[in-house]
């Protein structure tokens, strides 16, 4: 384990803890409108650590809420994509032959599509709720996972211990889930770390366009959008959520890169 992994992981953990505890310790709430304190710059005097927004709501609490929502969506969406990707990839890899070829051909076809537009279409067609956002974002990110898991499974199923299990009469499902799946954990963990920033990106993109999380709930994407409208008079409204979002994404990307380098020496991009 390199120092980089520990430092990144530590900072991310710190951000999550502050995001969870911060709103409880603050005297303000996320949806409390105050027309006497609109667009205040950050100050330490009355607890508005990050200032206020155009409705006088406390930006610290709102930003922390945004971090919570953003990370929650990203983690749940990543789990969705993990489940779809691992099951799909493991089945394709273990089955091999024509089934594998057909299943991977389907993945290739989907790869070529600008998926985000389908998510937007989904958001237009149905009422926007949390569950739909989770599933929609998870559903676009499983392709990479499926490919990687399939590749691993293909090589694992030729190994002696799999053959041994098969000789002892284990059913295909048992071989797949009891013998092969545990060996996939390392790879899967690395790629989930790389999937999380992608999910964050999609969620904040949707919220930025007004198609994701709805008011008075908020996410970092919606906060950035609100900041764009106010940037001439109150640039803190743009810069604070933008910095938070960029920092979280950078940390996750760095962590994923470092984990990948630690797990396999191939490196790459």
């Amino acid at each position: 384990m390199s120092r980089g992994i520990k430092v990144c992981g530590g900072i991310l953990l710190g951000i999550v803890v502050v995001a969870l505890l911060g709103p409880m310790l603050s005297p303000h709430s996320y949806d409390q409108v105050n027309f006497d304190a609109q667009l205040m710059a950050p100050t330490t005097s009355d607890g508005h650590l990050f200032g206020t927004d155009d409705l006088g709501r406390d930006l610290f609490v709102r930003s922390m809420l945004g971090v919570q929502v953003t990370i929650l969506v990203a983690v749940v969406a990543s789990i969705v994509s993990l489940v779809i990707g691992v099951v799909y990839g493991a089945i394709a890899g273990y089955a091999g032959g024509r089934v594998d070829a057909l299943m991977m051909r389907f993945v290739d076809t989907l790869y070529a599509l600008p998926f985000i537009f389908f998510v937007i279409l989904l958001m237009v067609a149905f009422e926007r709720n949390f569950l739909l956002i989770f599933v929609a974002i998870g559903a676009i990110n499983w392709l990479d996972m499926a490919r990687i898991v399939r590749g691993q499974t293909l090589s694992l199923r030729e190994r002696e211990f799999v053959e041994a299990a098969r000789l002892m009469g284990a059913s295909p499902a048992r071989v797949l889930f009891r013998h092969i799946a545990p060996n996939l954990v390392g790879v899967v963990v690395v790629y989930v770390t790389l999937t999380i920033p992608q999910a964050i990106l999609v969620e904040s993109f949707l919220s930025f366009l007004g198609l994701g999380i709805q008011e008075p709930q908020t996410s970092l994407g919606s906060l950035v959008y609100a900041g764009v409208a106010q940037m001439e008079g109150a640039s803190h409204m743009l810069l604070i959520p933008a910095t938070l979002l960029a920092t979280i994404l950078l940390l996750f990307n760095f962590l994923g890169d470092a984990l990948r380098d630690a797990f396999d020496a191939r490196g790459g991009v």
Binding site: T109, A112, L113, P114, I116, F117, F118, I120, L121, L122, M123, V124, A125, F126, E127, P197, L201, S204, F205, F208, L209, G210, L211, G221, V224, Y225, G227, V228, M231, E232, S235, L238, L239, A242, L245, A246, L249, L250, F252, N253, F254, D257, G267, G268, V269
Partner: protein, 307 residues
């Protein structure tokens, strides 16, 4: 080569059919009709409206009609912009997005390859670390964060460049949108180029070229660049998709009347036909550009064609 191109073109048809079917079903599975948001309509008016838009027919008829329309370039009327057809709206808005997108791609490839090559030649020096650190940062920061921050810096604080589109003529208004769109791609291409350039530079034919006394410049230009560009070329497909996605927010931020803006407005107005039409258009564009990239790949690397 021609046969290969034709084969690939035919291969794209099922993909497009899948896209159209998926998108069509998604829109039509939606609860509520396109006229639900407006004031309550008398039943006769409503029936007349639905008949006018062919919404009273069974779903498979509607789909076949739509499919026939798509083939002939007719994407139906827009529900929101009542005087325009979807095809007209796309035709008006797309040239603006095309200009923006192609400039961004060009900038991304030029700057990305240059930065990546530079880093590869100076690998493990301080400058390499700085370039790669910047690249990781560039990949991590989304377009909708880069764009407003650039506006804040160069348009609001320094006032060097215009922030908006309308009311500003000339090339100045293009700079900030194009740069914001290109930056993440520059970063990604720089990383790709660095990795593949390091790979190529350590191969035997480069050693031979050097042994014959060629300078670094000539080695890069005549020997290393072409093979090192292959991974960049195969990244062009995802890059195009990313620039399309980015153009949606960039057009929103800068107020550019391009396709992305219509798409977002259509999504917010629940203009089903417009959104459906643009999704299909985008998907067709991405599929065709991917095809073009594959063909180019075949030109640069003839081994591909024989497979």
């Amino acid at each position: 080569m021609l046969l290969y191109a034709l084969k690939r073109l035919l291969g794209a048809i099922p993909t497009l059919l899948l896209v159209i079917t998926l998108a069509f079903l998604m829109v039509h599975a939606a609860p509520g009709g396109p006229f639900d948001d407006e004031r309550v309509l008398p039943p006769e008016t409503r029936a007349a409206l639905e008949a006018a838009y062919n919404l009273d027919q069974p779903l498979h008829r509607q789909f076949l009609n739509y499919l026939a329309g798509v083939v002939t370039g007719d994407l139906g009327p827009s529900y929101h912009y009542r005087d325009y057809s979807v095809a007209e709206l796309i035709g008006n808005a797309f040239p603006v997005s095309l200009q923006l997108g192609s400039m961004a791609i060009l900038l991304a490839v030029l700057a990305g390859v240059a930065a990546g090559t530079y880093a590869a030649l100076h690998r493990n020096t301080l400058l390499d670390r700085i370039v790669m650190g910047l690249a990781l940062t560039g990949i991590s920061i989304p377009v909708f964060v880069i764009a407003p921050v650039l506006v804040l810096l160069f348009a609001v604080k320094l006032q060097w460049l215009p922030a908006g589109w309308s009311g500003n003529d000339g090339a100045g208004r293009l700079i900030l949108p194009v740069v914001s769109l290109a930056l993440p791609q520059i970063a990604y291409i720089a990383r790709l180029t660095r990795a593949s350039m390091i790979d190529v530079l350590s191969s035997d034919f480069i050693r031979t070229a050097r042994a014959q006394g060629l300078g670094t410049r000539a080695v890069i230009r005549y020997h290393a660049l072409q093979p090192a560009m292959l991974p960049v070329l195969s990244y062009m497909g995802p890059a195009i998709a990313a620039i399309l996605t980015g153009s949606v927010v960039v057009e929103e931020i800068f107020g550019i009347p391009g396709l992305g803006r219509f798409f977002v407005n259509g999504a917010l107005n629940r203009d089903y036909t417009l959104v459906l039409g643009i999704v299909i258009f985008y998907a067709a564009l991405v599929v065709l550009l991917n095809l073009l990239v594959d063909l180019l790949y075949g030109v640069i690397d003839p081994r591909i064609r024989r497979r």
